[in-house]
């Protein structure tokens, strides 16, 4: 019998060798004024990076904010240096082509790139035109274009959107359309920069598993940059971690977890933290894996005779509420109303309509919401459930068609994009005088008074915007009755989220009611005492955070999904739960 020839080693889809890069003017003094840039003295945001991705790999790019993930993705699709300029050393090869010489247009057939903000990734009027644009640009005939559009739309479950205009789409739909436009040329490599940052847990999970399916069925190589690692670690074959422009780890997900445990706790997933605190080995890569490990170690067994969790974990919501508030809880629109004296906000039968003409629709349908001063509330729900509209209605930015909202002590609202508050070129000019200085001190930014707001990190910009919203009423009697934040954790790593929890916790401790609209269940578990879950403009659940976040599947923390025990949502609670059951020492 003739011997089978040894198959040739696969050519890497992405091969980066000794890559260093600095953006133009990166060494200007103003750029070094803040903590936003992790560039070295020469302004390099990538330093001697080498990375290879084999065909069909699904790699996760992890790292703290501003560590160089986005720049690496831009280099892999040719935008760096072709579009952004700057100085580059080393080599980047995509599907055998020199990306530094070719540029993004010529690489368009081999690599697809999906950036973080879907709004700026659409350039056509209709969805079909947007998806077909790359094919048209390379001159594919109409019949071939039509088939490719149809197939990618089916793969991403968006054929019903094809004839719609892009301005009528939600953030999640736009993200899928951008992904479809990146995939329609059947690229060998697809690069995604935090694609789930604007998606609710349902849509975020769907997108990750959709990518995995495309990776398995189409053989597409995926390089995915994400902060919410718990969401995608189980789907990844490999993790590449970056720190200050260098690759600090490159290996399998399980090894990454062990590395993160030793080197950078901010990159640990909740399940890994649960296991490391409990001393259980090996560390799990996801919910399914964690349950398998726990079953094999019998840590989940023997439910009879357990101490009731209500005794283990008292409802923190009632602890935070002013004593003697005696709130009455009702569901499905009947939301607890605090007694008159301590109310931060009180919304009764709130109906809001948005849109115009034929598209006018009820976004809020008879919402009842009471928040007490000092209370910490997370507002959750799917994209389009009405969270932002509720906050805007409370702040008086939209007029309800029926019902009313009262905020006796006033309201400070930080909307989704903190950059909207930053309109001047010097932090001190945004917040003049003693009251401005007090606001900066309150958010820990007094050192940045001469910095340009655009040079601040994402977390610092968030804090500065909050200081602007609170300026003149940040201390004592003047503190607003309610401080509301709309989706404040976009693009933040776990460490920055921790800082935000501290900051808003401080405001609550000072007597303000704090409401945060968020998709981030782990952040909600860390911050909130109470969770209100909206669905299609109606409050569908309202209760203590550890009850609501352990009572479902999508709007539940990773620990809650692993242990499936009412009231257990954080790794620390999980360890206590396991210890109480005698499953761990």
């Amino acid at each position: 019998m003739p011997e089978l020839a040894t198959p040739p080693r696969a050519v890497p889809v992405l091969a980066i060798e000794g890559l260093s890069y600095a953006y133009p003017n990166a060494d200007e003094p103003t750029k070094r004024a803040s903590t936003a840039h992790t560039a070295d003295d020469a302004g390099r945001v990538l330093r001697d990076v080498s990375l290879q991705l084999a065909p069909g790999e699904f790699a996760l790019l992890a790292g703290r904010s501003a560590c160089g993930k986005t720049t690496l993705l831009r280099a892999a699709c040719g935008l760096v240096p072709h579009f952004h300029g700057g100085e580059i050393d080393g080599s980047v090869s995509v599907a055998g082509r020199d990306a530094i010489a070719a540029g993004p247009g010529e690489l368009a057939g081999a690599v697809g790139y999906v950036a973080q903000d879907p709004e700026t990734q659409v350039v056509s009027t209709t969805v079909a035109a947007e998806i077909g644009l790359p094919l048209e640009m390379r001159g594919d005939p109409p019949a071939s274009r039509a088939r490719a559009i149809e197939e990618v739309a089916l793969a991403l479950a968006i054929p019903h959107l094809l004839e719609r205009t892009v301005d009528a789409l939600s953030g999640g739909e736009l993200q899928r359309v951008a992904l479809a436009a990146a995939l329609v040329t059947r690229p060998q490599l697809v690069l995604l920069d935090e694609p789930t940052s604007q998606l609710d847990p349902v849509a975020g999970d769907e997108l990750i598993w959709l990518l995995r399916r495309l990776n398995e069925e189409w053989g597409v190589t995926v390089l995915l940059a994400e902060h919410r690692l718990e969401r995608c670690l189980a789907a990844a074959d490999r993790v590449v971690a970056m720190d200050a422009g260098i690759i600090s780890f490159d290996g399998e997900p399980r090894d990454f977890l062990a590395w993160a445990q030793e080197v950078d706790n901010a990159l640990e997933t909740p399940s890994a933290r649960l296991f490391s605190l409990a001393g259980i080995e090996p560390l799990p890569t996801g919910v399914r894996n964690a349950r398998q490990i726990l079953s094999s170690t019998d840590a989940l067994g023997g439910r009879e005779g357990d101490t009731p969790l209500s005794q283990l974990f008292p409802k923190t919501a009632s602890a935070v509420r002013p004593s003697g508030s005696g709130k009455s809880t009702s569901r499905s629109g009947g939301v607890p109303l605090p007694p008159g004296g301590s109310s931060a906000v009180n919304a009764r039968n709130l109906w809001v309509e948005l849109g115009d003409g034929d598209r006018r629709r009820d976004v809020l349908k008879g919402i009842e919401l009471g928040v007490a001063q000092g209370e910490r509330v997370a507002l959750m729900g799917r994209n389009g459930a009405g969270k932002s509209t509720l906050l805007r209605a409370l702040a008086g930015l939209v007029e309800p068609v029926r019902g009313r909202a009262e905020a006796p002590g006033g309201i400070a609202l930080l909307s989704q994009n903190p950059s909207d508050y930053l309109v001047r070129e010097r932090v001190g000019d945004e917040l003049p005088g003693a009251a401005g200085a007090a606001a900066l001190r309150a958010v820990g930014l007094e050192h940045a008074v001469d910095a340009d707001p655009r040079d601040l990190s994402g977390g610092e910009r968030q804090r500065l915007a909050l200081a602007i919203a609170l300026a003149g009423r940040i201390e004592g009697e003047e503190l607003p009755g309610l401080v509301a934040l709309d989706e404040p954790t976009r693009g933040m790593d776990r460490a920055l989220k921790g800082e935000l929890v501290e900051l808003v916790g401080g405001l609550a401790a000072a007597g303000a009611g704090v409401v945060v609209a968020t998709h981030d269940v782990e952040f909600a578990a860390a911050f909130a005492a109470r969770v209100v879950l909206l669905g299609e403009g109606v409050a569908i659940a309202d209760g203590a955070a550890n009850e609501v976040l352990s009572g479902g599947w999508y709007f539940a923390t990773e620990v809650a999904r692993i242990l499936d025990a009412p009231g257990v949502v954080t790794p620390e609670q999980g360890v206590a739960y396991l210890a109480e059951r005698g499953r761990i020492a």
């Binding site: 057939g109 659409v122 350039v123 035109a129 048209e136 005939p141 990146a182 602007i468």
Partner: protein, 301 residues
């Protein structure tokens, strides 16, 4: 809120037509409006364009254009009567006014201003129908092989206008949410912030266009090089179903307008006294132009 002039895809003949056919058809209305001063013909052009818009489902765009056109026409009439002293029928003597000098309001200047205003208003209706019914992407792509840079600029602008409008709305909201001790958001500051924000947005949109291959050589030349002559012919022959109708009606209107002009159908003179002709040619041309507005009509199954 979405602009009433924003393109909305609908399964109607005008929206299905190729950009060339739609432009030829709606352009015929605009051409007649600029070729003629007869109020009857101009009114017919307005009626034809409005009818086309209604049949194409762009009733909101037509309504808003009529309202805006009416205001514009009124403004033109006022300006014309103030700056033009010609005409024999003096309706009002305003005496000496600063800058303008001696002002007599004449019936002739009023009529002339009304005709200019009517022309502007009907052109506005035709452009509104174009904007609401013709896919800008298809227009830009049709232009791209001919003028790549211009098409890129137009693509950027067409995308940035709604994005900038959304940014402005958000900035206004954020301005209302600033604390009492924060520096106030003046108009100049907001305009500057909007401008710098738009530049950032433009960079993002341009990056997306780069990634989609917009900087590549325009497709037509590459397609011609790649396809055999037979294939090329096949791909070009597939015209949208309603194209012939729009091309034909546009051509008929233009030819009739030129012939009518030669036959004296444009019977209007404002000075020294107003004269309006209602001859057979004028009436026939007006009827034809109104009927041309029925072109987007689709027989229901």
């Amino acid at each position: 809120m979405r602009s009433p002039f924003a393109y909305t895809p609908r399964p109607r003949p005008l929206q299905s037509a190729s950009p060339g056919a739609a432009v030829a058809y709606l352009g015929a209305f605009v051409a007649v409006a600029f070729l003629y001063s007869s109020p009857l013909v101009l009114a017919a052009v307005g009626a034809g364009a409005a009818l086309a818009g209604l049949l194409a489902g762009a009733s909101r765009a037509v309504r808003v254009a009529l309202r805006m056109g009416g205001v514009l026409a009124l403004l033109i009439v006022v300006v014309n009567v103030l700056v033009v002293n010609r005409g024999e029928t003096v309706l009002l003597r305003l005496g000496e006014l600063p800058v303008l000098g001696r002002v007599d309001v004449t019936g002739e200047a009023l009529a002339a201003g009304a005709v200019i205003g009517l022309r502007a208003a009907v052109a506005m209706v035709a452009f509104a129908v174009y904007s609401a019914c013709v896919d800008p992407d298809r227009v830009l792509r049709a232009l791209r092989p001919l003028a790549g840079r211009s098409a890129l600029t137009a693509a950027l602008i067409s995308r940035l206008v709604p994005v900038a409008a959304a940014d402005a709305a958000r900035l206004r909201d954020a301005g209302r949410l600033r604390g009492p001790a924060a520096a106030p958001l003046g108009r100049a500051v907001m305009a500057r912030r909007l401008l710098t924000g738009s530049l950032d947005r433009a960079v993002d949109v341009a990056a997306t266009l780069e990634l989609r291959g917009y900087a590549l050589e325009p497709p037509r030349r590459r397609l011609i090089a790649r396809l055999s002559p037979r294939q090329w012919g096949q791909s070009c022959d597939r015209r949208p179903r309603y194209d012939r109708r729009f091309y034909a009606i546009g051509a008929v209107v233009i030819v009739a307008a030129v012939v009518g002009k030669l036959l004296g159908a444009d019977g209007f003179a404002a000075y020294p006294t107003v004269e309006v002709g209602f001859g057979g040619a004028t009436l026939a041309l007006s009827a034809l132009v109104v009927l041309a507005g029925l072109a987007p009509w689709r027989r229901r199954a």
